[in-house]
Structures are given as structure tokens and as C-alpha cells.
């Protein structure tokens, strides 16, 4: 399972590196979302700083839906399906690999967006460790849930509109907990942040386990 996961993750990341779609479309989109939020809120420093954590996670959420759609589209092509069957890859491994690749993409995205809100929204970071844990745990939860729902959302024609409707309400806890933990890391509130980290951790664990268990039956049926 782990070997298959490594193979699939390597393949997905290599495709992203070569096609540069994530780099030239998804990353600029995320930064654009930040800019648009600033336009909507006005240039007041106070307002921008206060809403920065929430806007950060909204930008991550929207971009992660885009990234997940790409990741699932790779799996849907007939040639890939044939190759996957011929290689006898473990479905749980495929799920883990895809989630891992998406996780790496999301972490890169989070780093860029963090730079964005520090520069544009005038926030300063007080607790680095809390920030790191929040970003990593949220990325695990987001990538697992998105890959799982991506494989649910059916063929290419419907996925573009269906996936956001399905996955965004489910991701609401990540948005809430991520926002609170991030603002705690900006003001240096340790215990408060830990509490929110626990929600992120539970979410990440639940969706990773569900994905490993359910990805196989879902894929073989479609």
C-alpha cells in the first residue's frame, strides 16, 4: 500500500511539475482571491488584519477544490484507468498517493498565501509552532476529504459544478477551526489554539481512514 502510494504521489506531482497548471493557474487564482477580498473589505488596516485568518482559509478552500478537480481528472482518463488495473495498484494506496500529492500542493499554496497575508494584510505571526501544526493538519484533512469527494462526484461533465456543492459544507469545520487556530497563532494564544488543533486533527484522521476504506469500492464501481 505504501509503495503504491509513493508511486501515485510521485506521478501526480511529476505531472503537476511538468504541466505547471498548479503554478500558473491555481496559485495565481489563490492570490487573486486575496486581492479581491481586500477590495471587498476596503483598505482599512484594522479590518484587514482582523479578517485575515478567515480570508486565508477561504482562499485555501477555494483553491483546494480546483486542485482536487485536477487531481481527480488525471485518474479519470481511460489510459490511466487501464494502467492502474494492469499494474494491480492497491486502491487504498492510490487514495493515499493522491491525497499525499494534493497535500504537498496545498502546503506550497499555504506558504504562498501566508506570505500574501503577511505582506498585504499586515499580520504578524506570534506562535510559529501553532501556525505550522494548523497548516499541516488542515492540509491533511482538506486533501483527504477532497480526493474522497472527487471520486464520488462522478464523471467529468458534472464534477466541476457538483464537487464544490458536495465538499464545501463538509469542509466547514476546517474553515472554522483553521481560522480560530490561525488567529490564535497571530496573537499568541496557546491553549485556545490547541483546542482548535484537536478538531483539525480529528477531521484529518477521520477522512484519511474513511478514504482508505472507501476509495476502493467507489472506484471499482464507476
Amino acid at each position: 500500500m505504501w509503495r503504491d502510494a509513493g508511486l501515485v504521489a510521485g506521478r501526480d506531482l511529476r505531472i503537476e511539475l511538468r504541466s505547471r497548471v498548479a503554478l500558473w493557474q491555481i496559485l495565481p487564482f489563490a492570490v487573486l482571491v486575496l486581492l479581491l477580498f481586500a477590495f471587498a473589505l476596503g483598505p482599512s488596516r484594522q479590518a484587514l488584519r482582523q479578517s485575515a485568518p478567515g480570508l486565508f482559509w477561504l482562499a485555501v478552500l477555494f483553491s483546494s477544490v480546483l486542485a482536487a478537480q485536477r487531481s481527480i481528472a488525471i485518474e479519470g482518463t481511460p489510459a490511466t484507468r487501464e494502467l492502474t488495473r494492469l499494474l494491480g495498484l492497491d486502491p487504498a494506496g492510490i487514495f493515499l498517493g493522491k491525497a499525499l500529492a494534493l497535500f504537498v500542493e496545498l502546503v506550497v499554496l499555504e506558504i504562498v498565501l501566508l506570505g500574501g497575508i503577511v505582506l498585504l494584510f499586515h499580520v504578524s505571526i506570534a506562535t510559529w509552532l501553532l501556525l505550522l501544526a494548523t497548516c499541516l493538519l488542515a492540509a491533511i484533512g482538506l486533501s483527504s476529504a477532497s480526493v474522497l469527494y472527487g471520486s464520488l462526484a462522478g464523471g467529468a461533465r458534472t464534477r466541476a459544478t457538483l464537487l464544490p456543492v458536495l465538499v464545501l459544507p463538509v469542509l466547514a469545520p476546517v474553515l472554522i477551526a483553521g481560522t480560530r487556530a490561525l488567529s490564535a497563532s497571530f496573537v499568541g494564544g496557546g491553549p485556545d489554539g490547541l483546542r482548535w488543533l484537536s478538531i483539525l486533527a480529528v477531521f484529518a484522521a477521520v477522512y484519511t481512514v474513511l478514504g482508505i476504506a472507501l476509495y476502493g469500492p467507489l472506484e471499482e464501481s464507476s
Binding site: L152, G154, L166, P169, V170, I199, L210
Partner: protein
Amino acid sequence: MKRTLRRLLGPVAVALVALDVILGLFVTPPDIEQGDLVRLVYIHPALAWVALYVAFAMAGICSLLYLWPRTRSMTYDRLAASAVEIGVVFTILTLVTGSIWGRPTWGVWWTWDARLTSTALLAVMFLGYLALRRVPADPHVRARRCAVAALIAAVDVPIVHFSVIWWQTLHQGATVLNSNLTPTIHGLMAWTLLLSFVAFTLLFLWMVLVRYEIETLDEGEEDAELADALEARRQEGAPA
């Protein structure tokens, strides 16, 4: 058997709802504090009970039964879908009646209370499930997808609930729901309240049964159409 049950259930449910309306609107006394507003207690909690517990539990259990290989049957898939479809209606009615109640008692149509927020999210998840059902696919593929979707959404509900409760309590003052939702009721009011729960639960079950039958007929019709089309093609090939 099912048909007689449905035929019996319908009139009984409608009659009980009518009785609930008459008792709630005309017979029970107005509340000292809330006046006539208290009459919403004969609709709103019962709707919420059906939407958040009966419909949701039914969809979850049926999805689980479908996924379990030994009990796999399209019956559970259709039941789950019917429960969700009627559940959406009840969830939206819960939100609407809650809003109507909230406006005069709290002064706002909507408050970011934990219960309201989770109910709204649940309604959106239900809608997502129905959208997923509309995606054209083989019935068994669709059934499996929908069952998995219902199950992972069900797992999400407690996480949503906890995060929203924490979010709410850490973000705003204490909730206003509890102080208002537990008026001291007794006598006729308590009986009418109880009646409303029974009436709306029966109404829900009846609607689910009707929806289930429509779903079954619909699938039968699709199969028949396919058979007709195949037969027509065969006729084309046959010598005249």
C-alpha cells in the same frame, strides 16, 4: 401489505396534523410571556425532530444497510433517497418556522447560534446528496456513490456540531435558545406538543412511503423503456 399500510397511514397522519392545528391554534391557551407566539411550539420542535433525527437517522441506517454486502438491496437505496428528499423539505421548514419564531422573540430573523448553523449546514449537505443523485449513472453505481456520500456526511455532522458550538461560545455571548425553548408547559399544551411529534413523524413516514413507491415505479418504467427499445431494434433486423 406495504400498500395497505400506506393507504392507512396517509389519512391518519393528515387527520392528526389537522387535530394538532385545531388544538394548537384554537383550543390551547396563549402563553403568559410569549402570547400567541407560543403556538409555534406545536410545529417547530416536531419539524426539527423529524428533520434532524428521524430523516437523518433513516438515511444513515439505510445507506449503511446498502453498503453492507449481506443486506445490499436497492430497497435501501430508494428508502435512503426518499428519506433525504422529504428530510430536506422538513429541514427547510424547520429553518423557516424557526426564523418566523425568532424575529418577534429575539428581534432577528437569524442568529449564528450553534443549532441554527449546524441545521443550515445539514440542509446544504442534504441538497448535495440530492444533486449527486441527479448525476446520470448506472443505478448500482449511483446507489453506491450516494450511500458513501451519506455516510461520510453523517460522520461529518458531529465534527460540524462540535466546531460550531465552540466557535459560537468562543465568539459570541451565551445562547438565547434554551431560555426560550423551555417554557413551563403542562396539561393540554403538553399533550398537543406530544401529538404534534406523533403527527409529523407519521406524516413523514407516509410521504417517504409514497416517494418510495414513485421511485420504484420510475425505475421499473426505465427498465421497460429499455426493453421496448431493444425489442424495436430486434424487429428492425428481422425479415419482414
